[in-house]
Subunit: 215 residues, 2 copies
């Protein structure tokens, strides 16, 4: 079974591993599944061939025999369901790990992603500082809740799961931002995620690609 | 097995069925599972008893014996996995239905939800019109992609699924907004969702509650 994912030909993050293919790479590395990568230009992402796989013209996609999937959360869940290592077997703990996947993408990611977008797109607008402060207030509130729940735990709910994988990819967007260090247990949680060999392999793979395509 | 969910004691939408408990009610109605509702004031949502169930102090939660879940997407997925009627059995079609669940919550909902928040919270800000126009541009782009994919299909991918259920709850937030009628197939898709008897029962239940608690 050959797995093929898509990624940016020229990632806007220049190798920081913030594009959403990183999650899928990391999940595949955790479960030991090899994969191929097909690179797409911004133009190709909006063409009919890709829109047939991804209706919104985004990356990543996941192809495996006749299955085509989109949405990084759904792809990571599919990988976690098909392979051991990313979801507990038992009912309640499995359901809770999936709840953390949704929490990462629906509760934590929107304000953190918006903050990056505002910094890129609205920097010269008169409202820039006000907007940024409002988003950072929301982010701080969410981080505070997450920090309280994590406490001195290693991962969010028992062993490392797909919920932690997604949460770490979301929190990594705050690297270099003063907010994350206000919550040392979360900062350390991110470092624990990044220290996993599977993360390292996935990160190196996307960074190597950026180095090559930038030449 | 008794299922208990939480909902707003005083829903900010005043019975329009936009609070996130609506998704869970609808899913439970689709599969024929009875449930109890525990109402929470905004104050109670931020107290330790509720934070133990929902780390971010939000609604809904889902309790069933010793299982406690949060995140409406995760709750709907749990209901769909445990009962027939909301997810196909087979591998590829099931995975694609789950992809639509994530697409509803991660790709479609953020700009649509933000639009409502901006209209409530930023109406007197100097950037209001610009922000609103930018969000509506994003919403229009996403709706256009979704409309192209739906075409003249009844549902997004084969029979009605949890992906349609979540997508309809997200698009309902655009009722009364001029954007949705620009895509007649999507407007009709929402109407088809709302016409389902399970939707009607769920909607009536939350509306009755608002009528009662507003007296």
């Amino acid at each position: 079974m050959t797995i093929t994912i898509t990624a940016f030909e020229h990632s806007p993050d220049r190798g920081r591993g913030l594009a959403r293919d990183m999650r899928v790479r990391w999940a595949l590395e955790e479960v030991g599944q090899p994969y191929d990568v097909r690179l797409l230009s911004f133009k190709a992402m909006k063409e009919p061939a890709h829109l047939a796989l991804q209706p919104f013209g985004q990356i990543p996609t996941y192809e495996e025999a006749d299955l085509v999937l989109f949405e990084s959360g759904a792809i990571v869940l599919h990988i976690a369901e098909r392979n051991a290592g990313l979801l507990p077997q038992a009912g309640a703990t499995r359901a809770r790990a999936i709840a953390w996947m949704f929490a990462a993408l629906n509760t934590m990611e929107p304000p953190i992603f918006d903050r990056d977008m505002v910094r890129i797109l609205e920097r010269s607008e008169p409202w820039y500082q006000t907007r940024l402060a409002a988003l950072e207030k929301t982010i701080r509130m969410r981080l505070s809740s997450l920090s309280n729940r994590l406490g001195d735990g290693e991962w969010l709910d028992g062993p490392f799961s797909a919920g932690d994988l997604l949460m770490v990819t979301v929190l990594r967007r705050l690297h270099g931002v003063a907010i994350l260090p206000e919550f040392p247990n979360l900062a350390n949680y991110v470092l624990r995620g990044e220290a996993r060999p599977a993360f390292q392999r996935a990160f190196a793979a996307q960074a190597a690609l950026v180095a090559r395509t930038s030449c």
